[in-house]
């Protein structure tokens, strides 16, 4: 296996959890809700995903456990922000703190345990193809699902009526309410979807990336996912580009450090963040103001008058 091929494969692996969590958050924010609890939902997904897999021996059940954990935590957020009209920023931050603590508790018994990592696809001829074989036809299920998810979200948002309604709710919840759309119900579904995606993104880490669980193993990926959503101007295509760019620079700087370049390692570690921010800012500037605006109702609490 050539170096480039190895790099690309590791880039995809590094990008996938970000892509999953950020895609979910994109849908949430498009509906006008700002859920800053992504990090908490991811780490809960990681802990519960690992637990599910360790107990049953099935990666698939582990992934389902991760999704369920993310959904459950997002339900807490929904109850607070949609049901009780609590400030979304505060509730989201609290959710992260809750998730980090709870995952440590759940995962405590599993630290040091090992599972079989998620199986990779194997197609007799195709996977054996030089260079592209392993990249295109030798990934695990998470990777294929994340790509399908982003395409599916794009199609949903721009090609279906339900997606139009979701965007409308995020643009003006008062108008949507005046036209008779159930704003809170739509937002609840979006929040649950986002929670499930974040949980799955978190579950990817112990189920496929490293075959064991350590507390705090998401290491700020939830925050990166949030930033990606903003810098991608809430557009699925740019979101995917941003996620893979971030993964690429993360891997590249590791290789660069291994080569022993005379750059402080701290600076190299910061590089993915800098590069992603700079590139996405440049993209959104180049596209002009049109179409790069945030959902107008983002983060604003809605209480219907009846």
């Amino acid at each position: 296996m050539g170096l480039l091929e190895a790099i690309i494969i590791s880039v995809i692996a590094a990008s996938t959890p970000l892509l999953l969590a950020a895609a979910g958050e994109l849908v949430v924010e498009r509906s006008g809700v700002l859920n800053l609890g992504t990090e908490g939902m991811m780490i809960m997904g990681a802990a519960c995903g690992f637990a599910g897999c360790w107990l049953t021996g099935s990666t698939f059940i582990g992934a389902l456990c991760g999704i369920a954990a993310g959904c459950a935590l997002s339900l807490v957020f929904a109850a607070l922000t949609l049901g009780l009209a609590v400030n979304q920023v505060a509730a989201g931050l609290a959710l992260t703190i809750l998730g980090v603590g709870l995952s440590g508790l759940i995962g405590a018994g599993f630290v040091g345990e090992k599972i079989t990592p998620a199986p990779h696809l194997y197609l007799p001829v195709l996977t054996g193809l030089p260079f592209i074989g392993k990249i295109l036809f030798g990934q695990d299920g998470f990777v294929y699902f994340s790509v399908a998810l982003v395409i599916g979200i794009w199609w949903f948002l721009y090609r279906t009526r339900a997606g139009l309604v979701l965007r409308a709710v995020g643009d003006s919840h008062t108008s949507a309410h005046a036209l008779g759309y159930p704003v809170l119900k739509i937002r609840l579904l979006a929040v649950l979807f986002g929670g499930g995606c974040a949980g799955l993104g978190g579950a990817f880490l112990p189920l496929a990336y490293t075959p064991f669980f350590i507390p705090g193993m998401t290491a700020g990926r939830g925050w990166i996912a949030l930033a990606l959503v903003v810098f991608s101007s809430w557009m699925p295509g740019r979101l995917a580009a941003g996620a893979y760019l971030f993964g690429a620079v993360t891997i590249m700087q590791l290789h660069a450090q291994a080569f022993g370049l005379g750059i402080p390692s701290q600076l190299m570690t910061a590089l993915p963040y800098l590069a992603t921010v700079i590139v996405l800012v440049l993209i959104s500037r180049a596209r002009g103001s049109a179409g790069s605006v945030a959902p107008a109702s983002l983060g604003i609490v809605f209480v219907p008058d009846r």
Binding site: L179, V293, P295
Partner: protein, 525 residues
């Protein structure tokens, strides 16, 4: 101006929609208190009332947005239960909202699709949209995003969206509040056509001359109760106003000699790029306001008035010091506070959030604009008694009605808060006052108090600049009127020469040279 429309005889026919004893309570407060209303096909029915009289609550109930506490709706004689707007739409009830129910970042076609119940394909809907908008002479480009459109065009979307439901009853909540006179005339043509097609229209408005011209029947609400149902064409504007307010409204009069001498506020060749991508560029604006004069700036909202206000108040700095001159001091680069120290005062359009901090007490809000040029701060400490004194003085002079001595700003009604904000600035005796939409959404009584205060201030020698969409208001108080359009400011015309037609054309973008010709043409047509 009564149009020749055959007088219908409602009593001979059965009503299309009957509202019987509609009541809506929020806690102990009755927004609607046992209101009866009959609407007939082929009739335009006006719903009149002050702010808070319960008009919007009533029509929202009829559209299924609000569930009534008690009372009954009958639709063509049968009991009608509405659980939501889609129920109302399926019966043939459509509504055009006062604050448009549009989505700025979506296209016209998407906005229309969201107002329908989605049984037809998007392509079929787009085709029908083009058809309906052509039929009624309401041209729209389906693929443009709403934020790119003018207010008049936005309203067209609302109306076309309602018409695409082929409604039997169309409810319009203050549709002309934001239109130029010409745009309003175009709207009336459409409304008359809808009426002749046998549809019922329920028309909410503040503008009594419009109601007299357009409507067959009028129902007047006051304090959530129905006061009367009458034929508006047989009433005078004054008698209608009396029923709405429940008292005579004092006439606003200028007092004292109005010396127009030295320019106290000078804007010189001001051009400014907006911060906001959806904002308006100001282009070479030059005008002067003399002491003892009120200058009115008319124009449809969103033509640069907000940007001009921000540049005058110092929320945005002008590119050059000399762009703005306050009492012979170049002020273009000065902060808001520095401009206040020069004797200027500013009243923004938005009462809550811009004019006041909603959750802060009135005394604190008084301090926020008054700290620079008054005695409310001593050695860096707030003099609380002095701030309360300011509140008391404003309350007394401007008849601000409130529940306690120093409540939070948000607890005041719109009219009372506006009286407080305008009063707070006027009591400082500013040499220059810039005020935006001084009586927007304020009831007639409070509006008269505010206008009188502005006139009195100018007669004491101050320069007053009033930005307003309300042409009647400007005609009442302004000495000269200029019009903003797409960031340009027209040369001012003397108020007595400024006819509605002339201003309306300027508001729609006609150049000053062409306006006389076009005005005569418009009247002839």
């Amino acid at each position: 101006m009564v149009n020749a429309v055959p007088v219908s005889e409602p009593s001979a026919r059965a009503p299309l929609l009957q509202a019987i004893a509609m009541t809506k309570r929020y806690g102990t407060f009755a927004a609607n208190d046992s209101i009866d209303l009959d609407l007939y096909a082929g009739e335009i029915h006006a719903l009149l009332g002050e702010n808070g009289a319960g008009k919007s609550t009533l029509v929202k109930t009829m559209y299924g947005l609000i569930q009534p506490t008690s009372g009954e709706l009958r639709w063509m004689g049968e009991k009608l239960e509405l659980t939501g707007p889609s129920d109302a739409r399926s019966q043939g009830i459509a509504m055009v909202f006062q604050h448009f129910s549009l989505f700025d970042n979506l296209t016209v076609a998407e906005n229309v699709a969201l107002g329908l119940d989605g049984v037809e394909s998007f392509a079929a809907m787009s085709a029908r949209l083009a058809q309906v908008s052509r039929d009624y002479g309401l041209p729209l480009d389906p693929n443009r995003e709403v934020w790119r459109l003018s207010v008049g065009e936005r309203q067209r979307i609302e109306i076309v969206r309602a018409l695409m439901q082929n409604p039997k009853l169309l409810i319009l909540d203050e549709p002309t509040a934001v239109l130029t006179p010409q745009e309003a005339d175009q709207l009336f043509t459409v409304l008359f056509r809808l009426k002749s097609e046998g549809r019922a229209l329920l028309y909410i408005s503040h503008k009594l001359d419009e109601v007299k011209r357009l409507c067959d029947t009028a129902t007047i609400l006051r304090g959530g109760k129905k006061i009367s149902t009458c034929d508006p064409r047989k009433e005078t504007a004054a008698s209608l106003a009396r029923m709405m307010v429940g008292a005579e409204i004092g006439e606003v009069k200028a007092t004292g000699a109005r010396a127009t001498t030295i320019p106290r506020l000078l804007i010189q060749d001001l051009s400014l790029t907006p911060d906001d991508p959806h904002g308006v560029h100001l282009k070479n604006i030059s005008i002067e306001v003399k002491g003892g004069e009120i200058l009115g700036i008319a124009g449809v909202a969103g033509n640069g008035q907000d940007e001009l206000f921000a540049a005058l108040s110092g929320e945005r700095l002008a590119p050059r010091e000399g762009n703005i001159v306050i009492d012979s001091n170049a002020a273009g680069g000065l902060s808001v506070t520095a401009r206040r120290k020069l004797g200027a005062a500013f009243v923004p359009e938005e009462r809550l959030g811009h004019g006041t901090a909603p959750r802060m007490k009135l005394s604190e809000n008084a301090l926020l604009t008054g700290h620079a040029a008054s005695h409310m701060v001593k050695h860096g400490f707030v003099d609380k008694p002095k701030t309360l004194e300011t509140v008391d003085k404003t309350t007394k002079t401007f008849d601000v009605r409130k529940a306690k001595r120093d409540p939070e700003a948000v607890s005041l009604s719109g009219g009372n808060l506006q009286k407080f904000i305008v009063g707070r600035e006027i009591l400082r005796e500013p040499g220059v006052l810039v005020v935006s939409q001084p009586t927007w959404g304020v009831d007639a009584g409070a509006a008269a108090v505010i206008r009188q205060a502005l006139l009195d201030l100018s007669s004491r020698g101050s320069a007053v600049l009033v930005i307003s969409q309300d042409l009647d208001e400007l005609a009442e108080i302004a000495d000269r009127i200029a019009v903003m359009f797409h960031g340009h400011l027209s040369p001012p015309v003397a108020a007595h020469e400024a006819t509605r037609e002339k201003l309306g054309l300027l508001m729609g973008g006609a150049s000053a040279e062409a306006d006389a010709r076009e005005a005569s043409h418009a009247i002839g047509a």
